[in-house]
Amino acid sequence: MINHHPSDEMLLAHAAGETSFAMALALSAHCELCHQCAERVSLLQQKLARHHLSAPSGVNALDDATRVETRTEAQQSDWLNMDSLFDAITATEAEEPVLTKGDLGPAVTAVKGEQFILPRTFRQLIHSDLASSWKGLGNVSRLRFDTQDGKARASLLHIAAGGEIPEHTHKGVEITLLLDGHFSDEFGSYGPGDFMLMDGSKQHTPITQDGCLCFTVVDAPLHFTRGLSKLLNPIGELIY
């Protein structure tokens, strides 16, 4: 049972393709695990399609009808002399199937001797030059993706059974999508598919009994707040 979901705004941004790469991965993976959010996104896509690609007389879900009509007339009147583009496209043969890594079965990753099947959204990424290898310290291992979203850091994070991350706050927003196993913190306990958003105002100490695998996105390095844990601050660089 998935109890924690992305907000409607996030799902809309996702359907519109307007989030960062890292966020799109998190939302896509959540939707693969969560039928309910997948349905939402599919509905939002229909609305966006009507908005951007419908005839002026159609229902314009998100726009003011007059504006669309004017724009469409302008579009039509200069949509001339497109014959060469039309010829170029229709000269294309039906595409040869491209064999992607996705065709070769699910994306699998192994950490600490355990194999995990990842959501389909990671199929290419996990094999690409944007993925680093697993690096670990104690119970905590991380595989970072270079998503080139400015400061944002996207990672797979594995915490072995009984592991804990020292209490910390977040400078920016942190997204955690739990892919496998369970963990709990001061605010609750979480299972596979749960999508959590933490902002800078909260402190938490995630603990896992059975071990867990998460996909996390943070937009700034973590800062540990407890005196002793400050000694461990370099772990913030490592784990997220």
Binding site: A16, L53, A55, T72, P97, P106, A131
Partner: protein
Amino acid sequence: MVKQVQEIDDNSLKQWLLAVANQRDKQAFRALFDYFGPKIRAFGLSRLSQQGLAMDLVQETLTTVWTKAHLFDSDKGNVATWVYTIMRNQCFDMLRRVQHNREDTFGDDIWPLFDSDPASDEFADHKLDNLLAAYLGKLPKLQREVVQGIYLQELSQQELAEKLGVPLGTIKSRLRLGLEKLKSLLEKHHD
């Protein structure tokens, strides 16, 4: 030719797309082209801010419509939504190309174009795996070790280049040749 866009509804779009899928009907495609082209260009202009890039988006999106029309499942959605998802995915990859000089394409991984039933998908994957294992043996050794290294041992191209002591470009070309060969073997099997 200016169309009476008011008269175009979901059903005409569907008939045109089916004619493209089944008969490679150029006239039907011209109707889709004239209907969607200007709208895709307007979307592209707002996202990509350059006329040239917007026209690239038109070309890429409509080429996919032309070449993959047969993959459209009319039971699962309407034509406009299908074209929208193609356009959005393409635009996402184009933005990454423009901003980060990346040639990779993740749009279709993030938003799968063709919903597949997870159960049957898994089964298909399993079957494909077995087939691939059989066909891998038919590749020349140099291509085989690259394909195996990347897909089965999950090495990066760089790691593999170092391991085999050959330039990265060589890995890339062996991989391409190997995959092309595999593809042709698989196609023969499907025929």
